[in-house]
């Protein structure tokens, strides 16, 4: 599969994207500068990566959406080509009119950077073919303008065309319970178990059980993690044997310098 990654000034995730595409498809992705008027011949997939194109001036993605290369992308899409927009790329595609609706400032005005759980609603789209419908996947998100807005008619029409392949899972009760189990493995295990339960329920009833679905894992507070490290260090420093054992492994726990006695040379 030949893929092309668009490059705009201010985009910063194009190399990650190229690497991911290389790993997924085995072929080097072509980097296409925004001033180009045509895509490389034989392109199967165009990816608009994330970042802050044109410093997010005017509106996110607004200026990039009017770049010369976008006309070529519009033509490519009209001919049935695959186009994927991630992060700022999603905003660019919305601004360019390739996707309906618009991404607005997050409702709480905060930049959201966390792992979220998505449910694969349909596995019959080219992008979600590798998943099973009903499967829950975890992906990292980071955005300040990720609040998707479109009227109900537009959303319905988009769904009819195959949009809505993934849906965000939020559940306050679940999230609270998740916070009590901050150990990574615990949450993941619970999460997998829950996903299996939901899949079974869905299969039995034919109705998605969205209300109680999903968990959010909050990153462990840095301060607490650090205080734990310092506590460990104190323990280690007080325990000379442990400190010796850890020497070389944990530089924090280097043993106190010992005075070496020089053996006296026997006189002839």
């Amino acid at each position: 599969m030949k893929s092309a990654v668009l490059v705009f000034p201010g985009i910063n995730r194009e190399r990650d994207m190229a690497r991911a595409l290389k790993l997924a498809s085995g072929h080097e992705a072509a980097m296409v500068w925004h001033a180009e008027t045509a895509l490389p011949k034989g392109t199967d997939l165009v990816v608009v990566p994330g970042g802050f194109s044109y410093g997010d001036y005017l509106r996110c993605g607004a200026i990039a959406a009017r770049a010369p290369v976008m006309d070529a992308v519009r033509e490519f899409a009209a001919d049935g080509g695959l186009v994927l927009g991630v992060c700022n790329g999603f905003q660019i595609l919305c601004e360019a009119g390739l996707l309906p609706g618009v991404l607005m400032r997050n409702a709480r005005l905060k930049f959201i950077c966390q792992d979220v759980h998505l449910r694969v609603e349909r596995s019959d789209t080219p992008f979600t073919r590798g998943y099973n419908a009903g499967q829950v996947i975890r992906v990292p998100v980071a955005h300040g303008e990720g609040n998707y807005e479109a009227d109900e008619e537009t959303r319905e029409a988009a769904r009819g065309r195959g949009a809505g392949a993934l849906s965000l899972l939020l559940g306050r009760r679940r999230r609270r319970r998740g916070l009590q189990h901050q150990r990574r493995g615990a949450v993941d295990r619970r999460h997998r178990q829950r996903a299996r339960q939901c899949a079974r329920h869905d299969a039995a009833s034919g109705k998605p059980r969205r209300r109680h679905h999903g968990l959010h894992r909050r990153p462990r507070p840095v301060r607490r993690a650090w205080s734990r490290i310092w506590k460990k260090r104190r323990e280690l420093l007080h325990d000379a044997r442990a400190a010796r054992r850890c020497r070389g492994v944990l530089s924090l726990a280097a043993p106190p310098p010992t005075r070496r006695t020089i053996p006296s040379v026997p006189s002839p």
């Binding site: 005017l58 509106r59 607004a62 200026i63 009017r66 601004e95 609706g101 618009v102 607005m104 400032r105 997050n106 409702a107 709480r108 005005l109 609040n147 807005e149 479109a150």
Partner: protein, 79 residues
């Protein structure tokens, strides 16, 4: 010739920035603020002198770039 294009959010569109400003004004003790909606103002200098042409050009600019007509309204004024 000078012109001003004002871009505002359509009514009914959630405006969290306006809400935050409204809260800040209230906490500063500014009385009588019922609600705040945030927008953008573009001051544009035009080279021609034809008013009708200028207005058409500005409307075109607003439709194409300055405003996202899905969520925003705009107003063109010739000064």
């Amino acid at each position: 010739m000078k012109a001003r294009v004002t871009v505002t959010l359509k009514s009914g569109i959630l405006d969290p920035q306006g809400k935050a400003i409204e809260g800040a004004l209230k906490s500063l003790g500014v009385d009588g603020v019922a609600s705040v909606r945030q927008g953008k103002v573009f001051d544009i200098e035009l080279s021609g002198a034809d008013k009708a042409k200028a207005e058409a050009a500005l409307k075109d600019a607003a439709d194409k770039l300055l405003a996202n007509t899905v969520i925003e309204n705009y107003r063109v004024e010739l000064l």
